[in-house]
Subunit: 197 residues, 2 copies
């Protein structure tokens, strides 16, 4: 497979009704239409989909994407315990796991980044359904897979009629939280900044 | 590749804003969740997506789907001339081409099934955006890839809030039209029914 090293694979997992298909479409459009890279966005429906766990995948590459299915993900966003349990084994050993800390009580690794995604959505917009967009903001802010501007454009374009402003608030909440998390992880390392305080 | 003979591949193509991603998601969910088969639904965004043509693909199988990308489609629905020109080469020689006869003026084969999809949508619901669902009804009625009941359930589940009834009308319009087309193609063949008239 060519370009394998260039691929960046994101898996968004939760239960039906959490808007993860829309989130995948928005991420793929942000990357491809506004950041000018290539993307493939996929939903697979098999026996596991008829259970409770649902997933949406996005593969990003600057080159051609030869095999369009996520094999081992670089990022897994898990918005339910079942989705976390089902898809954690498909995350790369050094991959990033982001979980909704209220909905995933037992994270499978201490390295998981726990964020109260749904609670943040309710605080930011009054609507739990915007947790999907908070999640996108988190992923965007924690990785460099997509620019903030591209994500804002794609959210504006794809949000259901009349909900763009609300979804942009959800995106901002997720992105800002990601920056806080990055800052906090820097500040716990021994270094000049730490010693000054 | 195993199960290749079992695969049925549908490509929905048009321009951005015609709702073909949603149509692909609805078809995949109908097949997988309500008809109990397996499905993969994909959007690819590459250089061609940054032009005008947009596509959404659904692969249906009773077995495991090993390679998740449509190679040669069994069905192509084309809702724009550019999409028809871009994707016709990816249709199997005996594949079914359905075009919006008002929007695709030059069909690349005389075997294309021309239907005024968008006009029918406007007549059925008053909204051109429901052309995507009329298209699904056409594909469902012309092939046996999905049951009508499964498609109705998936449309009801996935239609934007408050639009389920409207979209069910669009679906019915497409499905009934497909039955008419099948009936007409039977009645032009010499046979008992024909001789009686």
């Amino acid at each position: 497979m060519k370009d394998a090293s260039d691929r960046f694979e994101v898996r968004l997992a939760g239960s039906g009704g959490q808007g993860l298909i829309l989130a995948g479409v928005i991420l793929a459009e942000a990357v491809a239409i506004y950041d000018g890279r290539n993307a493939i966005q996929t939903q697979s429906y098999g026996p596991e989909a008829r259970g409770g766990a649902s997933k949406s995948e996005v593969i990003v590459s600057d080159g051609r994407i030869d095999f369009p299915k996520v094999m081992l993900a670089d990022v897994l966003l898990a918005l339910s315990q079942e989705a976390c349990d089902t898809y954690f084994h498909g995350l790369k050993p050094k991959g990033l796991l982001v979980v909704d800390s209220d909905l995933v009580e037992r994270a499978p690794t201490s390295k998981a980044v726990g964020v109260p995604v749904t609670k943040m959505a309710i605080e930011a917009t009054g609507k739990a359904i915007t947790a999907n967009i908070v999640g996108l903001g988190l992923i965007g802010g924690l990785t460099s897979v997509v620019s903030r501007q591209a994500l804002e454009k794609a959210v504006t374009e794809r949000a259901p009629k009349g909900t763009a402003e609300m979804n942009l608030k959800a995106l901002a909440a997720g992105w800002e939280k990601a920056l806080e998390i990055k800052e906090a992880s820097r500040s716990v390392r021994p270094g000049p900044r730490r010693r000054e305080s």
